[in-house]
């Protein structure tokens, strides 16, 4: 029996993507919790950025429904405009960003805009927000998504936020300054781009999940990295930090 939920494992895996001293586009929900864990463990000097115009050192003390809520602004490092904070990103000063989406494909392109035809979509998704900017400009992109066949697809119908586009050096040719997707964290596994095509490969499988299950739930013929392993479980320190932040056990359910 593990002493952590799948979502808690995902949060810890995400937290490990943050290095000390880095400036991170945090986003809401799971990533903001991951940011809090990273600050309390290995990255005490990380800085969290929010596209509405907020930058913080310490994570907010109090429940956040949106990045604009009072607790995210009280005691912030900076409350300012969108251009100032997203400008740090555009200006090359942001190390990593977290984004999610409805669909991601084998080259890490993300769709949060349209399922189906643009002019007559089957599903009109809410849209891009700042995700394309983060995907284009951050040094590393961390993608978080639930591992289902209709979400991890061969090719997204609409590239809201660019990954490696058609793979290989397509991203570089398109003139994108940021490094592109570095990792894709799901509720079953961790995937990373690998080889000259930059196609996402299986990097590790979460404890309790199987290779077969992962393959069945991926929308393309997922290949494995040479050293594919089990996702390292949370350490005691990481879980202690997470429990400190998530006092009410929201992510334990």
């Amino acid at each position: 029996m593990t002493a952590y939920s799948t979502q808690e494992l995902m949060i810890i895996a995400a937290a490990r993507q943050i290095r000390d001293g880095e400036r991170i586009f945090v986003g809401m929900r799971l990533p903001i919790t991951a940011y809090g864990v990273a600050r309390l463990t290995h990255a005490p000097n990380a800085v969290g950025l929010f596209e509405s115009g907020v930058a913080r050192y310490e994570p907010a003390d109090g429940m956040l429904y949106t990045m604009c809520d009072g607790p995210n602004q009280l005691g912030a490092a900076w409350t300012t405009g969108l251009i100032q904070v997203m400008g740090l990103l555009s200006g090359g000063r942001v190390h990593a960003g977290f984004i999610g989406g409805a669909e991601v494909d084998r080259f890490g392109n993300i769709n949060t805009s349209y399922i189906g035809d643009i002019d007559k979509p089957t599903v009109k998704l809410p849209g891009s927000g700042g995700a394309p900017d983060i995907a284009a400009m951050a040094e590393r992109l961390v993608i978080i998504i639930n591992h289902q066949k209709h979400r991890l697809v061969e090719k997204v119908g609409f590239v809201t936020s660019p990954g490696f586009l058609d793979g290989g050096d397509a991203r570089k040719k398109a003139g994108l300054p940021g490094g592109g997707p570095a990792v894709l964290i799901t509720d079953r596994a961790v995937l990373k781009p690998h080889g000259p095509t930059n196609e996402f490969h299986l990097a590790s499988i979460h404890p309790g999940h199987t290779l077969e299950e992962v393959l069945q739930n991926t929308g393309w013929a997922l290949q494995s990295m040479p050293d594919v392993a089990e996702t390292p479980p949370p350490t005691k320190a990481e879980m202690a930090a997470l429990h400190h932040i998530d006092k009410e056990g929201f992510w334990r359910r």
Partner: protein, 327 residues
């Protein structure tokens, strides 16, 4: 005298409200301001600050006045745009995100985009940063801004206004985002004087650029204060009073969104809206109850009653003092 090829600046924007004389102040009711400055078909910004300080009181008043064919421009404005779409007020949506930050998707936005209900809408896609640059260009007289951060995105296909080009300095690809000039921008501020001079604190999203880019600016002030209060701290002014067209005293204009130091977010209200607007009939019922059947924002606040009072911020976390003395 010389021939002036320059488009005349409309003096009325700073010194008149409707037919009031030039020495008058700009304080008016929200209903009057909207009647005077927002025609059918206008391109308007409601909620340039993203998820705080959303001018929901103006959203409701636009619905009550039955405005049609609006172009709603905003980076992210939570459920404000969704309400206006459901009420049949919207022909175009220009921005980066439309939905319900607490509940997920916006049912009315989906219905309009997927099924043309209650009417078809045109969608002009932007990312947050490119929309910011479009407002910046509109505000400060730049014809366009060359941006890297939208390269590789299919937004370049869905929004043909943004042109792919070559940077003549480096030869690298760049996307040219043309200036965007709204007809009217609404903004919610913590306090203003009756001439439109206002203080805002907390994060501001694209409020400054969206306001300066607009032909008309309507301020919704949580509190009206003496001019001396605003003048005591001119660095806390985001948009100067002399470009503001109307000031409306509308406490809790932001509900259910938060306003820093004044009102907390009513998260349950967003969830309820999500549940209660799944079908067009449900939305019509919701809209009648919370908007159409109420005469104004004061009635909306009364209807909320203690639910609103519970969101009022009573504590004090004061900003450190700042001194402007000259001797």
């Amino acid at each position: 005298m010389i021939l002036n090829p320059y488009p005349k600046i409309d003096l009325s924007r700073t010194i008149r409200l409707g037919d009031k004389p030039i020495s008058s102040h700009k304080l008016t009711s929200l209903a009057e301001a909207i009647a005077a400055f927002v025609p059918d078909g206008a391109a308007i910004v409601l909620g340039a600050a993203l998820e705080n300080a959303v001018p929901f009181a103006a959203t409701h008043e636009l619905i009550r006045q039955g405005r049609r064919d609006l172009n709603m421009i905003a980076p992210i404005s939570d459920i404000s745009t969704d309400m206006l779409i459901g009420a049949g007020c919207v022909a175009e949506v220009t921005g980066a995100w439309v939905g319900n930050v607490s509940g997920g998707m916006g049912h009315n936005f989906r219905r309009a985009a997927e099924h043309c209900l209650p009417n078809p809408i045109k969608i002009n896609d932007y990312s947050n940063f490119t929309l910011g640059m479009a407002f910046f260009a509109g505000a400060y007289g730049l014809p366009y801004v060359p941006v890297k951060s939208i390269l590789g995105s299919d937004i370049l296909k869905s929004n043909p206004k943004i042109k792919l080009a070559e940077d003549p300095f480096s030869g690298e690809p760049v996307a040219l985002v043309p200036a965007l000039k709204p007809d009217v921008t609404f903004l919610v501020v913590q306090r203003a004087d009756r001439d439109g001079n206002a203080h805002i604190w907390g994060s501001t999203g694209l409020t400054q650029e969206a306001s300066i880019a607009a032909s008309k600016i309507i301020v919704l002030a949580d509190e009206i204060v003496a001019p001396e209060v605003i003048a005591s701290d001119p660095s806390r002014v985001l948009v100067p009073g002399f470009v503001v067209d109307a000031v409306c005293h509308v406490p809790a204009a932001c509900h259910p969104a938060p306003l820093i130091g004044k009102w907390r977010r009513d998260n349950a209200f967003f969830h309820d809206y999500h549940k209660e607007t799944r079908d067009p009939e449900d939305f019509a019922r919701w809209c009648a109850e919370w908007v159409r059947d109420l005469p104004d924002h004061a009635a909306y606040c009364s209807k909320l009653g203690s639910q609103l009072e519970d969101l009022r911020i009573l504590g004090n976390a004061p900003a450190a003092a700042a001194n402007y003395a000259i001797a």
